[in-house]
């Protein structure tokens, strides 16, 4: 189910602008990896290259290799749609489809692709995904109500359920808790711990405590100045990054001296 990720000299561009430079990282399967760093350093941009969402934006492109279990997802002839069905993504703001009910939102990955499934199959998928997202007990009575009627934290867990319903190998999370209150954040963090049993999870966060709580490994990104490319400064065990970093910039950042 779960795959490991490896990048080789990955450069990410917006048109001619080099946004992230020379990333070499190896992310193990069935682990949680956190990306931290100041705003604008390219964490989110890099995360979006992991499922080829980056190139949705006009002029955006990527150089280098990104291996998913040894297969280059930027190789010639690779269909980005296939990559995205293997690498799911949860966004910063909860974005359930407003025209769909809770049930349809969970099934969106199948329904939007025109997959046919029997009602009992669909029921199984919905229940399993919502259970997996710790949302089943809260919404099982109102599966046919619109997804946008849920609270922010519930909506975000609905989006996670939607992502795990299609059984990806990797789940990317772009600051999934930044729009949520502490209780919803706790629910999502608990969920991340459970997701790690089956999936490779990569999370971008501004909250260093969160990175320390949920992740096994942490990558610190930084930018030398405006207009300069972002770089991955240090990548190590989370405990090392927060307690005993090798790099001086990392130490200054995690101790709150800048950024």
């Amino acid at each position: 189910m779960s795959k490991h990720i490896e990048t080789r000299d990955l450069n990410v561009y917006y048109g001619e602008f080099l946004a992230v430079e020379g990333v070499n990282i190896s992310i193990a399967a069935r682990s949680v990896t956190a990306f931290i760093g100041p705003s604008g350093c390219g964490k989110t941009t890099f995360l979006r290259t992991l499922n080829r969402m980056h190139e949705v934006l006009p002029g955006a492109r990527v150089e280098g290799e990104l291996l998913l279990d040894g297969e280059n997802i930027y190789g010639t002839g690779v269909d980005p749609v296939t990559v995205r069905s293997m690498v799911g993504m949860v966004f910063q703001r909860p974005n359930p489809f407003p025209t769909m009910s809770i049930r349809e939102n969970v099934l969106a990955g199948y329904k939007l692709n025109g997959a046919r499934m029997s009602k009992s199959q669909a029921d199984d998928v919905v229940e399993e995904a919502l259970m997996g997202a710790n949302l089943w007990n809260e919404v099982k009575e109102r599966l046919d109500k619109p997804g946008s009627g849920l609270s922010g934290g519930q909506q975000q867990r609905l989006c996670i359920a939607r992502t795990i319903a299609v059984k990806p190998d990797v789940i990317l999370m772009d600051e999934p808790c930044s729009a949520l209150d502490p209780i919803s954040t706790l629910a999502i963090e608990d969920l991340i711990h459970e997701l790690k049993q089956e999936y490779t999870v990569v999370i971008v966060t501004h909250n260093m405590q969160q990175a320390a709580r949920v992740s096994e490994k942490t990558a610190f990104f930084n930018i030398a100045g405006t207009g300069k490319p972002g770089k991955m400064i240090e990548y190590d065990e989370t405990a090392t990054i927060f307690n005993n970093p090798n790099n001086e910039q990392t130490e200054r950042y995690v101790s709150g001296k800048f950024g």
Binding site: R84, M86, G88, N95, P98, T99, N113, P146, G149, L150
Partner: protein, 402 residues
């Protein structure tokens, strides 16, 4: 200094646009405990001032020559002035200015509404008798000649003849124009919003759509006729069995679609642009292809706006006269066939009944039919606008489900 007076100057206590604070403090009686209260006016002051202004206005206008318009003008001016002066004296300057401008805004709103109300009133009052004539919807103008109209004007026999042919023509032509315009317009706006990425082609399309919006409708009519004539000549030179004359319903539909396409492109483009990008990205992230994302996420999210925009575009072209007159002509009998023979539309029918009454010397029956047809046209447009609202409401994404 009384204990209610503020000890230190606050923004409210120093002299401001509301006038010096000292003016208010003497009026503050023992019953007013709070420093925040000020003089208020009883609720009935507005209606009383309005009534007084109406009476005074009636008196003033009858000094000149009494007419409704003059009465309205005097009443409005008096009401605005009197309420300003009273508020100024009783409360303060800020309230008075506020009320003054609010009254002016209400007045502007009423003036803007007057033509609409007046149009609806005059068309309804003049057109209703013709509308209630038995057989007005069920009969066309076949066999109605000058002698019948002369008889009904001179001897009071029922006005015969109706709008069946015009109603059918209008509906067929408009439906055909919609069927042509909506796919073209919708696909154009999908290209502009989803695929173009702001290139030269997209800017050219936007520019030409803007130019098309300004095309005079008679030019669109001439274009439709010329295009159909060319098409028919090319087709018949290739040996296809085509009608020899370009004057038919479908030609009018093509001419109308020239007017309709830019409206559809513009409204649907706006509606597609307001669909949040997050939804597209959420769909892509689930491994959904772009065309499916557009078809299943973007368009359903925007469908209420699209449907409303299309309905308004229909309402816009259903009242066109000139392009239909030069492309579909005018007949007195019912024609169900869009691709064969002449066809009448409601606006053309109205135009003809006014311009060329069936009996030149006894034009009252013709005018009655024209006004009734005008009433029907207004009702259709109103119905379409109402439909647009209902569609927008029914298809709108469900906001809450708590």
């Amino acid at each position: 200094m009384s204990p209610t007076e503020p000890k230190t100057p606050t923004p409210a206590s120093v002299e401001g646009p509301a006038g010096p604070a000292g003016q208010r403090s003497p009026k503050r009686g023992p019953g007013r405990g709070s420093s925040l209260t000020q003089n208020t006016m009883p609720w009935w002051i507005g209606p009383v001032v309005l009534a007084a202004a109406a009476v005074l206005g009636a008196a003033l206008s009858s000094l000149i020559t009494f007419s409704l318009a003059l009465w309205f003008i005097f009443t409005a001016v008096l009401y605005v002035l009197i309420s300003y002066v009273i508020t100024r004296l009783r409360v303060n300057r800020r309230k008075a200015t506020d009320g003054f401008w609010r009254n002016l805004v209400y007045l502007a709103f009423i003036i803007a509404l007057l033509p609409l109300v007046s149009v609806i009133w005059s068309v309804t009052s003049v057109g209703l008798p013709g509308l209630l004539e038995p057989g007005f919807f069920a009969s066309d103008m076949q066999g109605i000649d000058g002698s019948i109209d002369q008889q009904s004007q001179e001897e009071g026999t029922p006005v015969l003849g109706g709008i069946r042919h015009a109603l059918i023509g209008s509906l067929l032509i408009t439906i055909a124009a919609t069927l042509i315009s909506v796919p073209i317009g919708l696909m154009t706006s999908i290209y502009l919003v989803e695929y173009s990425r702001g290139g030269t082609l997209a800017r050219a399309i936007t520019f030409f759509v803007d130019v098309m919006t300004g095309i005079p409708s008679i030019v669109a009519g001439l274009f439709g006729g010329a295009a159909m004539a060319w098409f028919l000549s090319v087709g018949s030179s290739m040996g296809l069995p085509l009608p020899s004359r370009s004057t038919m319903g479908i030609t009018a539909a093509i001419a109308l679609s020239v007017l309709m396409i830019p409206v559809v492109v513009r409204t649907t483009e706006e509606m597609l642009r307001v669909v949040p990008n997050e939804l597209r990205e959420a769909s892509y992230a689930l491994g959904v292809r772009k065309w499916r994302t557009i078809l299943k996420v973007v368009i359903p999210t925007a469908i209420s706006g699209i449907a409303a925009g299309v309905t308004l575009a229909i309402a816009r072209v259903i009242g066109e006269t000139a392009p239909i007159l030069v492309t579909a002509g005018f007949v007195v009998s019912t024609n169900w066939n869009l691709v064969q023979g002449w066809m009448t539309a409601l606006p053309v029918y109205i135009f003809r009944q006014f311009q060329n009454p069936t009996s030149p010397n006894f034009s009252d029956p013709s005018h009655q039919r024209a006004w009734a047809a005008a009433l029907v046209l207004i009702l259709i447009v109103m119905l379409l606008n109402l439909t647009a609202r209902i569609i927008a409401k029914v298809f709108a994404p469900k906001k809450t489900g708590r």
